[in-house]
């Protein structure tokens, strides 16, 4: 690289510079001199992307810009806390980065679990504080929603700084992330090496080619729970997609997740927010410790990984019952969760609230889609899957697609490629990575077009692509040569999947939401499905639906398919009954999650099923189960190893099976996509509504209603203004009470010496004449009547024209009304436009004569006593007897006061301001000593002034009084009504969600 990116400002610098030419930040850490290796091992972090050593304090690899340390969304404290010496693996003796829990070389655990627990919770920092905590207020409440939204919107490693900036620390990388990493991300896909990500990691250039995304991923192990879908993808990808050459990143990621399951006690301490009452519950069932960290998300993905409780359930029947209450209690502990949960889950109850209903089962179904296959022992290799999903036009097409990709890949990768081509632009991102997915395993070449085709998506997309492109490739590699991965490798990636997959639904953005969990679980499921079949738990799942069947109308068809697949597992059956009762009371996405697991009451499944098409259960079950269930098993290697090993063995079979099943239910596919779209929007809406304060609940719904509503409101307003003004003149009597400031202005004008001219500043646009003219006219007319000579200026280009108009108008009116002739140049003049706003004002204030030679028309020499005698005494602002500021914005007033105050000490200031500016100008009036001696505010002030000055026949303001009155009243009524209704609507919605 001839260019070094400044880690502080992200700008590129020639590599011979030691200091950033833009921000003077050091570019090359001193340690990393010519011979980096020389640096003491203690201070060195080895970049997982390029393998080069970096000084321990650097957050970013100075060679490849990839993060070296986990960024907890910028929670530098925790981050910096982790920056320590490297850890030497006891088993293989090699050095590992300080944050790694498992040896990157031999997978051996590096630290006792407690430590990890600590990090675990730390890892959850990005999650918002539980609503219970005081002072968090709306802002903090707003977090979770925004976080996952944010994930969607920014490339994963840019994330830390998108996150609220809480201490990303000075670690420059995240700070400059967007500027910095985007290019990096792009580079691989920008076309320089499009095919690269898809290349099997084993291949020579594959390893080196990937540094960017690999490293970036490698950097974030601690982020697992809170990480964005994009985040996780890489992690788990790495975890199982790890090319033997570089297993490093994989280790930390998974191991980070597991510990806490292993060690309930820590987790309970860790969770500051969750009611202590629950903790026992958590502990009781191995699955639940996931929920321990206070972080919302953890809760979320725990919930989403609802399958989890299931496994323990089968594994240890006694455990699950407590599991139930634990979850039941959850809502109370996390205030916002229940709402959207109920929204999701409650939906099935009320069909018209269908969206939620559909989505919950949907994403499950989708996510479950792949694993379902094994259950349905369908003829492997049936081609439909590929094309069917490829043709999928809807925006939510990803789900089926990835499936097709997944399925298609092993059998006929050709299928997968077309699928993305067929993809509509909205979903453009997905197809691409899909292509990666599908293409990679079969022939890496496939993926290349996908990237090439990818125009210039969000910075994030590329890494998705790469990640996914890489992933399947790895998978392939993995499957082809199992020996590549150590025996306990499997648990790792299984685990990582177990977590990452569930996380998506909560953490994922509308579109991405489906995609992430789906393919995640999909990928995950395959691996398990085959082995799972034989094992008892799996049987249990397939079994339960059988019981649910009677309740669920559509169930039968798939049930039939299921029954054969399920041998024993009657023991699993009793479970549901007790558990279900608990879960019934519980947020139903949870319940929904459960559905695949035996825990779900038949009723619940039925409800869900009703919202959906029959096959959803089967498809969903394995997926959801797999990821979540895996972890617990994984946790304790001893017991479960048997199963895992079994699973691993069956891996190859799965993908082949996966495809056919999909192909058989094209209908389902359709609904899936549609439903997923629904889910995406709704989940987004609901989460936002819960989490964010200032975000429309869901714009989509408003869309329909608003135009009509808008028209009604507009019509009402128009009528309210026109009617009284037209038909009921005098309905609103002119004001009798004169405001203090208005009176002050009047008195000031009244007592003004007539020997000096008055400066009138017309700082408003012709557009504002409607409001300000009446006020200005009232004051100016009063001045004219007192025979004061006037000079007009304006800091607003169009204002001078306005001044000209008003002057001429009033001069004419004066002539007509009083026969007093007011002549231009003698009694009044319009100096014109003061350019440069305040800057010009300053110049004008310091020396008016330097600014103006001629008047506004450019024809009259202003300072020449013949042409403009009135101006001859004027040398500075103090030579005016009064300064009248007519302005629509407080800025203009402020500018005048700021710039001219020191020069116009002698001349008092009267402000004629728009009602909108009043509160901000008032401080100058209220100030002590007042910077403004009198104010006339808007149309009301004008009317008052007219009354006070007793203008003949009332002024323009008085004439509009009725229209104003009608309009204001209508506005008040509408605003009150609208907000009452709105508030009520919100409440009902909230209550509905709660229920």
């Amino acid at each position: 690289m001839a260019v070094i990116r400044c880690q502080a400002c992200g700008k590129p610098n020639p590599d011979f510079l030691d200091v950033c030419q833009y921000c003077d930040a050091r570019l090359k850490p001193l340690e990393a001199g010519p011979a980096p290796e020389a640096a003491p091992a203690g201070d060195v972090i080895r970049c997982q992307a390029c393998g080069k050593p970096n000084p321990a304090f650097t957050e970013v690899c100075q060679f490849c810009d990839s993060p070296l340390k986990p960024q907890l969304f910028g929670f530098g404290e925790t981050t910096s806390a982790e920056a320590g010496d490297q850890i030497r693996c006891q088993s293989c003796g090699r050095l590992n980065p300080p944050f790694a829990e498992a040896c990157q070389y031999c997978e051996a655990r590096l630290r006792p679990l407690q430590e990890i627990a600590g990090d675990e919770t730390a890892g959850a920092t990005a999650a918002p504080e539980p609503p219970g905590s005081p002072g968090g207020g709306p802002e903090s409440g707003a977090q979770p929603g925004m976080e996952w939204m944010r994930r969607l919107s920014t490339e994963p490693s840019a994330e830390p700084d998108w996150m609220w900036t809480g201490a990303a620390g000075e670690e420059p990388e995240p700070a400059a992330a967007p500027s910095e990493e985007t290019p990096d991300w792009m580079r691989p896909f920008g076309g320089e090496q499009p095919a690269q990500p898809a290349e099997p990691p084993g291949s020579p250039e594959g390893g080196p080619a990937m540094p960017d995304w690999m490293s970036s991923l490698g950097g974030e192990p601690t982020r697992m729970e809170t990480a964005a879908p994009a985040e996780e993808v890489p992690d788990w990808l790495r975890s199982f997609g790890e090319p033997p050459s570089q297993p490093t990143p994989s280790a930390p990621a998974p191991s980070r997740d597991i510990p806490e399951w292993l060690r309930p006690p820590e987790s309970s301490e860790a969770e500051a927010a969750a009611p202590l009452g629950e903790t026992p519950d958590w502990l009781s069932t191995p699955a639940q410790p996931e929920a321990a960290p206070p972080a919302e998300e953890v809760l979320d993905w725990m919930r989403s990984s609802g399958g989890a409780p299931a496994q323990p359930a089968e594994a240890a029947p006694p455990g699950s019952p407590e599991g139930g209450p634990a979850f039941g209690a959850e809502p109370t502990s996390a205030a916002e969760m229940p709402d959207w949960l109920s929204a999701l889950g409650g939906a099935p109850a009320q069909p018209e609230a269908a969206l939620p209903a559909e989505e919950v089962p949907d994403w499950m179904r989708s996510s479950g889609g792949a694993p379902a296959e094994p259950v349905e022992t369908a003829p492997p290799g049936s081609p439909e899957g590929g094309p069917a999903f490829g043709a999928e036009p809807t925006s939510a097409a990803e789900m089926p697609d990835w499936l097709s990709a997944l399925g298609g890949a092993p059998a006929q990768p050709a299928e997968a490629a077309p699928a993305f081509g067929a993809e509509p632009t909205p979903a453009a991102e997905m197809p691409d990575w899909l292509s990666a997915l599908g293409g990679a395993p079969a022939q890496p070449a496939e993926a290349a077009p996908a990237f090439g085709a990818e125009p210039t998506p969000a910075a994030e997309m590329p890494d998705w692509l790469s990640a996914l492109g890489g992933a399947p490739a790895d998978v392939g590699g993995f499957e082809t040569r199992p020996e590549a991965a150590p025996a306990d490798e499997t648990p790792d990636w299984l685990r990582s999947m177990g977590i990452s997959a569930p996380t998506e639904p909560v953490g994922a953005p509308p579109e991405a939401a489906e995609a992430a969990p789906d393919w995640l679980s999909g990928l995950g499921a395959p691996r398990f499905a085959a082995p799972a079949e034989p094992t008892s738990p799996f049987g249990a799942f397939t079994e339960i639906p059988a019981e649910a069947a009677p309740a669920a109308g559509e169930m039968p068809d798939w049930l039939s398919s299921l029954q054969p697949a399920t041998p024993p597992e009657v023991p699993g059956a009793p479970e549901p009954a007790p558990a279900s009762s608990l879960f019934g009371a519980m947020p139903s996405p949870f319940a929904a999650e459960e559905t695949p697991t035996p825990l779900v009451p038949p009723a619940a499944t039925a409800g869900l099923a009703l919202g959906e098409m029959p096959t959803w259960l089967q498809s969903m079950r394995p997926v959801d189960v797999q990821p979540s269930r895996v972890p617990p098993e994984v946790d304790n290697y001893e017991e479960k190893v048997g199963i895992l090993a079994g699973m691993r063995g069956v891996l190859q079979a799965e993908p082949a099976i996966a495809k056919p099943h999909k192909s058989e239910v094209p209908v389902q596919k359709l609904e899936v996509s549609e439903a997923e779209a629904a889910q995406a929007t709704l989940l987004a809406g609901v989460l936002k509504a819960e989490a964010e304060e200032a975000r429309p609940v869901s714009k989509r719904r408003l869309q329909i209603a608003l135009p009509v509503e808008r028209w009604l409101v507009f019509a009402a307003l128009a009528l309210a203004v026109i009617f009284p003004w037209f038909f009921a003149a005098g309905f609103f009597p002119a004001p009798t009470t004169i405001a203090r400031e208005t009176n002050a202005a009047f008195e000031l004008v009244e007592g003004l010496p007539t020997d000096k001219p008055v400066l009138v500043a017309f700082d408003y646009d012709p557009a504002q004449r409607g409001e300000l003219d009446p006020a200005a006219q009232a004051v100016i007319f009063h001045l004219m009547r007192r025979g004061v000579s006037l000079a007009g200026v304006s800091t607003h280009p169009a204002g001078a024209g306005v001044g000209q108009d008003i002057f001429n108008e009033l001069a004419l009116g004066l002539k007509n009304a009083y026969g007093v002739s007011y002549t231009y140049g003698v009694n009044y003049i319009n100096l014109g436009y003061i350019p440069g706003g305040p800057v010009g004002l300053l110049q004008f204030a310091t020396n008016p004569r330097s600014l103006f030679n001629t008047d506004f028309s450019g024809a009259m020499r202003v300072w020449d006593a013949q042409s403009a005698p009135e101006m001859s005494p004027v040398y500075g602002l103090s030579d005016f007897s009064l300064i009248v500021l007519v302005s629509s914005t407080p800025d203009a007033i402020r500018a005048w006061i700021e710039q001219t105050q020191s020069f116009a000490a002698a001349a008092p200031v009267v402000a004629v301001v728009s009602a909108g500016a009043d509160p901000l100008v008032r401080p100058y009036y209220e100030a002590n000593p007042p910077q403004i001696k009198g104010m006339v505010t808007g149309i009301v002030g004008a009317a008052q002034y007219e009354q006070r000055a007793g203008l003949p026949g009332g002024g323009p303001a008085s004439n509009r009084w009725d229209a104003i009155g009608g309009g204001v009243l209508a506005a008040v009524i509408l605003i009150i009504a609208g907000n009452l209704l709105g508030a009520l609507a919100r409440m009902t919605v909230l209550r509905a969600r709660k229920r």
Partner: protein, 240 residues
């Protein structure tokens, strides 16, 4: 009555244009767009005229042209012309920036923009301090035991109390520093929280009042248009 029509052509135009704009209430439509583009164009043209006739010509081109017209006298007048010349140079630099590409022109233009940015920031700072910050702080130096001519006035005291602490609370609401606890998002330091809460209330009131004011103002705009349109329509209705 063609003559009358011709004479009242401007009025008719005003009327039509106003109507075109108000169609936007029903939704975006060609008429509105037409009106808007017309408006943008006319406004821009007028702004340029004003800028030229009120600034560029009198302050820069005028003097130069005049002195140039005096032939060699220019040389003698040169010192007095330097400011105008320098301004001309900066202006040309700025105009250069319009030409796309050509990095050197761009960089020359940057000289002008850098100049503007520098002066602008200075003026902004100076203005903010001398015009807003100090005066406003000064204005908040209010006695909590205010004495009026009628002696001590409790309601005044309340007012002052509210103003002082309202100002402080509002100012405090914007306090950016946050406390980070592991496992938590950054949150306002405990001390700042109540302050922020109170601040929110005052901000709400201030905004509410401003909004109300702006509402009345805009209502005045609309009423003004109504009056104008009616005054245009009236003669026709009256005149049959």
């Amino acid at each position: 009555m063609p003559a009358a029509l011709l004479q009242s052509l401007p009025d008719i135009m005003v009327f039509a244009l106003t109507l075109m704009v108000f169609t936007y209430l029903l939704g975006d439509n060609p008429l509105y767009r037409l009106a808007v583009h017309l408006f943008v164009g006319v406004t821009a043209g007028y702004a340029v005229l004003v800028a030229y006739y009120n600034v560029i010509h009198p302050q820069m081109l005028g003097p130069l042209v005049v002195s140039l017209s005096q032939g060699l006298a220019v040389l003698t007048a040169l010192p007095t012309l330097l400011p105008a010349l320098f301004a001309l140079m900066l202006s040309l630099f700025l105009l250069l920036k319009l030409s796309p590409g050509a990095s050197w022109t761009n960089r020359l233009g940057s000289v002008a923009t850098a100049y503007l940015v520098g002066v602008g920031s200075a003026v902004a700072i100076g203005g903010a301090i001398t015009g807003t910050l100090f005066p406003q702080i000064n204005a908040t130096f209010l006695s909590l035991l205010p004495q009026t001519e009628l002696g001590f006035s409790p309601e005044r005291m309340v007012d002052h109390f509210v103003i002082i602490f309202g100002t402080l609370a509002t100012l405090g609401f914007f306090y950016y520093g946050a406390r980070v606890r592991p496992g938590r998002p950054p949150e306002r330091p405990p001390l700042a929280r109540p302050v922020a809460l109170v601040g929110q209330v005052f901000i709400g009131v201030a905004f509410g009042v401003m909004y109300a004011g702006a509402l009345v103002a805009s209502l005045a705009f609309f009423a003004d248009r109504l009056v104008a349109m009616w005054s245009i329509l009236e003669p026709f209705l009256g005149g049959g």
